[in-house]
Structure formats: structure tokens, C-alpha cells
């Protein structure tokens, strides 16, 4: 993309470009907001502070007010906590399980590999939003249920990615040597394979985080994600959708919050130093 036009700087031996640094700062800012949200709220999230609903942006109410006249800035800050928190927990579970299973399948091979691959590929051919709908209908949408649902939906993808990388490493000579030494599977995947695939796996982790944020927002938007009084960014768009015909900030701001996070993660991964991003590294 616009790489030539962007100045490069050096830090810790890698060169970073401006787009990547800005994206990283946006992600850092949302992370801090998610951690410290309860301490920086200008108003309590449930309090009605505006006489009017769908109020415009103005001093004191920087993001306007929502459909009940509550402060939108506070609600978006608190929403960051749920969107970032739930997605991060889900992506950690999904990538950890997927990558471990993928490495085990690659190292072991045989029927275990075929069965796992066939089964997880089948799970992969259920459209993610549909999967979410069905499972949420079945187990409800408490926060732990949502985290597990999102994690399960994205395990097959993580598995496929890690297995493809691990299969390549598995053919290397040092793997044969380790096998001949009689090392255990735990040692093989932890000390021989993982260090060799960790960088692309981390990049994949970021992409999967974006997918999960999008799916969580979509489910909440449909009213099947986080339930009131809790509200993540998708739920905030849903409850304020009535303000759309008059372009109320209450419906635009949470949408922009989602976009700023997902686009930043995408841009950061796109602009990572080649050494980290390269799959063959």
C-alpha cells in the first residue's frame, strides 16, 4: 500500500512505519480504556443526564446522549470493556486450543490427524454468524457462554493455520533428530515446533481477534449477544438505531469505535516488519 510515502523509524532492531505506529497507539488506547473504564467515566452509565434523547455533541456531553438521554461517552468507554474483554478472552482460548491441536495433529499424523482435520473442516463449513445464532439460542448469552461460543467458532480456523505451518516444520531434520532422541510429544510441540511458528501464529491471532470483534458486534446488534443492562459496542448501535434517520451521534459513535479498533488491528498486522509477518521466517 502507501508504504513508500511513509517515513520509517528504527526501534529495537526492527523498522516500523508511521501507519503501523499509529495503529498500535489506537489499539493501546482502547486497551487502556478497557482496563480503566470505571475510573474515567464522566457520568454513571445508567444515569439520565440529558433532557432530550439523541442529543447532539456538545460541551459536557462530548458524544451526545442516547435514546434515553444517557451520556454516550460513558457508555462507549464502558462498552470498550465488554467488546475488547470478551473478544480477547475468546481469541486466547480459540488460538491456544487450535494451535496446540494443530501442532499435535502435525506431529502425530495418522488417524488422529485425519479425524481431527475432517471434523474441524466440517465445523469450518458452518457460516460463523449462523453458528453463533444457533449456539446462542441453545446456551444463552451470558458472558462466559458468549466467550466459549466465539472461541469454539474460531478454533477450526486457528487449527488449520497452525497445522499447515507445523507440517512444514515437521519435515525438518532437527525434528527427526528429536524423535530419534525419544523426546515426548509435549517437548516436540513446545520446544521444537512452537518457536518456529510463533510469529505467523501471532499475526493470525490478531486477524482472528478482528473476526471475533466483528462477530460479537454482529450478534449483539441482532440482540443475541450481550444482554441489557450490559452493552458492548454492537448492542449500543442496536439500542440507538432509532436515531439513524436523524444521524444521531449515539448510533454513529459506537460504529466508529468498532471500526477504529478493527481497522487498526488490520493495519498493524499489514505493517508489521517483514521479519515478524513472513510465514517462512
Amino acid at each position: 500500500m502507501a508504504r513508500a510515502a511513509v517515513s520509517r523509524r528504527s526501534f529495537l532492531g526492527h523498522s516500523y512505519n508511521l501507519v503501523g505506529v499509529v495503529a498500535a497507539l489506537v489499539i493501546l488506547a482502547w486497551t487502556l480504556v478497557a482496563i480503566f473504564a470505571p475510573y474515567i467515566l464522566p457520568h454513571p452509565i445508567g444515569e439520565i443526564v440529558d433532557d432530550d434523547y439523541f442529543g447532539p455533541m456538545r460541551q459536557g456531553l462530548w458524544f451526545g446522549s442516547d435514546y434515553l438521554g444517557r451520556d454516550m461517552l460513558s457508555r462507549v468507554l464502558m462498552g470498550a470493556r465488554y467488546t475488547v474483554g470478551i473478544s480477547l478472552a475468546a481469541v486466547c482460548i480459540a488460538c491456544f486450543s487450535g494451535v496446540v491441536l494443530g501442532m499435535i495433529a502435525a506431529v502425530t499424523g495418522g488417524w488422529l490427524d485425519s479425524c481431527l482435520s475432517r471434523f474441524l473442516d466440517a465445523m469450518n463449513s458452518i457460516p460463523s454468524k449462523l453458528f453463533g445464532l444457533v449456539v446462542v439460542a441453545a446456551v444463552g448469552s451470558s458472558i462466559p457462554a458468549l466467550i466459549l461460543t466465539l472461541a469454539v467458532i474460531y478454533i477450526p480456523g486457528a487449527y488449520r493455520f497452525a497445522r499447515a505451518l507445523a507440517v512444514n516444520i515437521n519435515t525438518m531434520d532437527f525434528m527427526t533428530v528429536a524423535r530419534v532422541r525419544g523426546e515426548s510429544i509435549g517437548y516436540l510441540i513446545g520446544s521444537e515446533i512452537l518457536p518456529n511458528i510463533i510469529r505467523p501464529v501471532l499475526a493470525d491471532f490478531g486477524l482472528r481477534f478482528v473476526f471475533i470483534v466483528l462477530l460479537l458486534s454482529g450478534l449483539s446488534f441482532l440482540g443475541l449477544g450481550l444482554q441489557p443492562p450490559l452493552a458492548d459496542w454492537g448492542a449500543l448501535v442496536r439500542e440507538n438505531i432509532g436515531g439513524l434517520p436523524f444521524a444521531a451521534p449515539a448510533v454513529i459513535v459506537p460504529s466508529l469505535a468498532i471500526a477504529s479498533l478493527t481497522i487498526s488491528v488490520n493495519l498493524l498486522i499489514d505493517n508489521l516488519p517483514q521479519k515478524i509477518r513472513d510465514r517462512n521466517a
Binding site: M1, R118, I126, L130, V134, L222, I263, N266
Partner: protein, 316 residues
């Protein structure tokens, strides 16, 4: 077509069949985990325990899950989708008209987005690195990175609130004239076209760029072929397989897209039916809708794979 290709295609179809079976089982299993006893929900609070037990027996709810699954599967093969819990109508009757509506939406979107995306994708690849290419790339990455409902809200803001060309959130059941029809379909189709095209542009562009970097295209350049001839005669015929593959894959995003779009625009299609069924916990309806979506998705993915096999001469 040689027997090698035929074998590969048959193998792919067999895999699709096995996958379908696993998917159906997963859908059935997830929905039978729904909390609450179906029989007591159906009979309401005033039901006697004997009546509940009787209905459980009649609905075969006491049988093991695997037996109920096989019975459901057998019913499907006979074209029997079951009866909706919520309003006691056959599921097939509920789905019929809605299905046609959704297919109309998907069909119009496909007709619009495929030519649009192919033109943009191929021209962007030809003018790689130009401001035009950068604009197309950045816009398509932007659309891919945001949720579908945001594309929909932005489209409403642009076309209904600022330009005032179309009604904002039209809830529609009856169309009286052609203008009405266009107004009904405009917003959902615009939103879906954006979502689908963004994927398709990216994949098409990547496929053409890969072909343009091959030695025979360089050879064509060296022998003095014009730029247009180089792309149209030398690169495109070879990129055709990957492009059709990209088209089929992108169309599978329609499945996720319609769920959001039908809900936000209150469009009477099968996805809206399913979201409502989830809200009312209407089991047979959820199962049938989910099955239709999975079937469509699987068909598109399998088509994409088969096209990739057929178009690759090295696999023949």
C-alpha cells in the same frame, strides 16, 4: 475431461456429503440443547404432569438423541421439515415464500456485484500501485474490516439522511409499482453489494496480480504486446479459474450478510425468519433455516473448490 479430474471432483463431492452430515448433526445437537422442556413449553403453565408426559411420548422426546436425529433426517429426505412450535404451521409452508424473497435479494446482489467487482478488481490489478488502485484497495479493506451493520447504517446515512434519495428504514410487505419495488430493494441490495464486492475485489485483484507476475506474461511484454492485449489475451484466460473461485467464495459471504441486512431493513426473508425463530426458541424452524443456510454455503464452497481443480491444468 480426464478421469483424474473426475476422480478429484467426485472425491470433493464425497467430502462435501460427509461434511453435510456432520454439519446437520451439529445443528441438530446444538438446537436440542435448548433449555426448557419442549412439551411443557407447548402446553403452557396449566398443563398436568400426565399431559406433559403424554405429549413427550407422542413427540418421541424420550428417545435417545441419535434416534431422534435419524428420524429427523429421514423426515428431511421425505421433504418433511416438521411443524413449527410457535404457530403450529408446517415449517415448509412458513419457509416457502420467505425463501423466494431471500433468493431474489441474493440474486439481484449477485447480478450487480459480480460485474462491478470484476471490473474494479481487474483494472486495479492492471494499474497496480496507481492512486486508483490504492483507493480501491483501501476502500475494500475498510469495508472488510467493519461489521455489516455498519455498512448498512452508513448507506442509510448517505442515501437516506444526507442525499434523501431513498426512505431510511422502510418496512415493506406490499409493492404496488415498479418504483416501490426499486425503493424496497435498493438499500438491502446496496449494502450487500458493498460487503460482497469488497471481498471479491480483493481476491480478484490478487489472482490477476499473481498471473501478471508469471514468466509468460513477461515474455508477452518483451515481445512487444500491448498492455491491453497482454492482460486480455495472455493473463486473463489463465486467471479465469482463480477468479471464478474467488467469485464463488465471496458469494458465500452472502450467508452472513443477509442475516444482518434482512434484520436491519426488516426484509421478509428466511434470515429474518430464523432470527425471530431464535428469539421464540422455535426448534424445528431454527433447524430447517440453519440447514438451508449451511446447504447454500457448502454448495458455494464446494463449487469454488471444484472450479479450482478443473481450471488447474497441473491437476488434470
Amino acid at each position: 475431461m480426464t478421469s483424474g479430474v473426475l476422480n478429484l471432483v467426485l472425491k470433493r463431492l464425497a467430502i462435501a456429503a460427509v461434511t453435510l452430515l456432520i454439519v446437520l448433526f451439529a445443528v441438530f445437537f446444538a438446537t436440542s440443547m435448548l433449555p426448557g422442556d419442549t412439551a411443557s413449553i407447548l402446553l403452557g403453565q396449566a398443563a398436568t404432569p400426565e399431559a406433559v408426559a403424554g405429549l413427550r411420548e407422542a413427540m418421541h422426546l424420550n428417545d435417545p438423541a441419535i434416534l431422534r436425529f435419524l428420524r429427523w433426517l429421514l423426515g428431511l429426505l421425505h421433504g418433511d421439515l416438521g411443524t413449527s412450535y410457535a404457530n403450529d404451521m408446517p415449517v415448509a409452508a412458513l419457509i416457502g415464500g420467505r425463501f423466494v424473497n431471500t433468493m431474489k435479494l441474493a440474486g439481484i446482489t449477485t447480478l450487480l456485484s459480480v460485474p462491478l467487482a470484476l471490473t474494479l478488481g481487474i483494472t486495479a490489478a492492471m494499474l497496480r500501485g496507481s492512486p486508483y488502485d490504492r483507493t480501491v484497495t483501501i476502500l475494500s479493506i475498510g469495508i472488510i474490516s467493519v461489521p455489516e451493520f455498519m455498512v448498512a447504517t452508513l448507506a442509510v446515512l448517505l442515501f437516506a439522511v444526507y442525499l434523501k434519495w431513498l426512505p431510511a428504514l422502510s418496512s415493506v410487505n406490499e409493492a404496488h409499482s415498479l418504483t416501490d419495488l426499486v425503493r424496497i430493494y435498493a438499500m438491502p441490495v446496496i449494502t450487500l453489494t458493498f460487503v460482497i464486492s469488497a471481498q471479491m475485489i480483493r481476491m480478484t485483484r490478487a489472482a490477476v496480480i499473481e498471473t501478471l507476475s508469471t514468466p509468460y506474461v513477461e515474455m508477452a511484454l518483451l515481445k512487444g504486446a500491448s498492455r491491453g492485449r497482454m492482460v486480455l489475451r495472455h493473463a486473463l484466460p489463465n486467471a479465469l479459474g482463480p477468479i471464478v473461485n474467488a467469485v464463488a467464495l465471496s458469494l458465500s459471504y452472502l450467508v452472513g450478510g443477509v442475516i444482518i441486512v434482512e434484520t436491519i431493513f426488516n426484509y421478509p426473508g428466511i434470515a429474518k425468519l430464523m432470527v425471530d425463530a431464535v428469539a421464540t426458541r422455535d426448534l424445528p424452524l431454527i433447524q430447517s433455516c440453519a440447514m438451508i443456510f449451511c446447504l447454500g454455503y457448502l454448495a458455494l464452497i464446494t463449487t469454488a473448490d471444484i472450479i479450482a481443480v478443473i481450471s488447474n491444468p497441473r491437476l488434470r
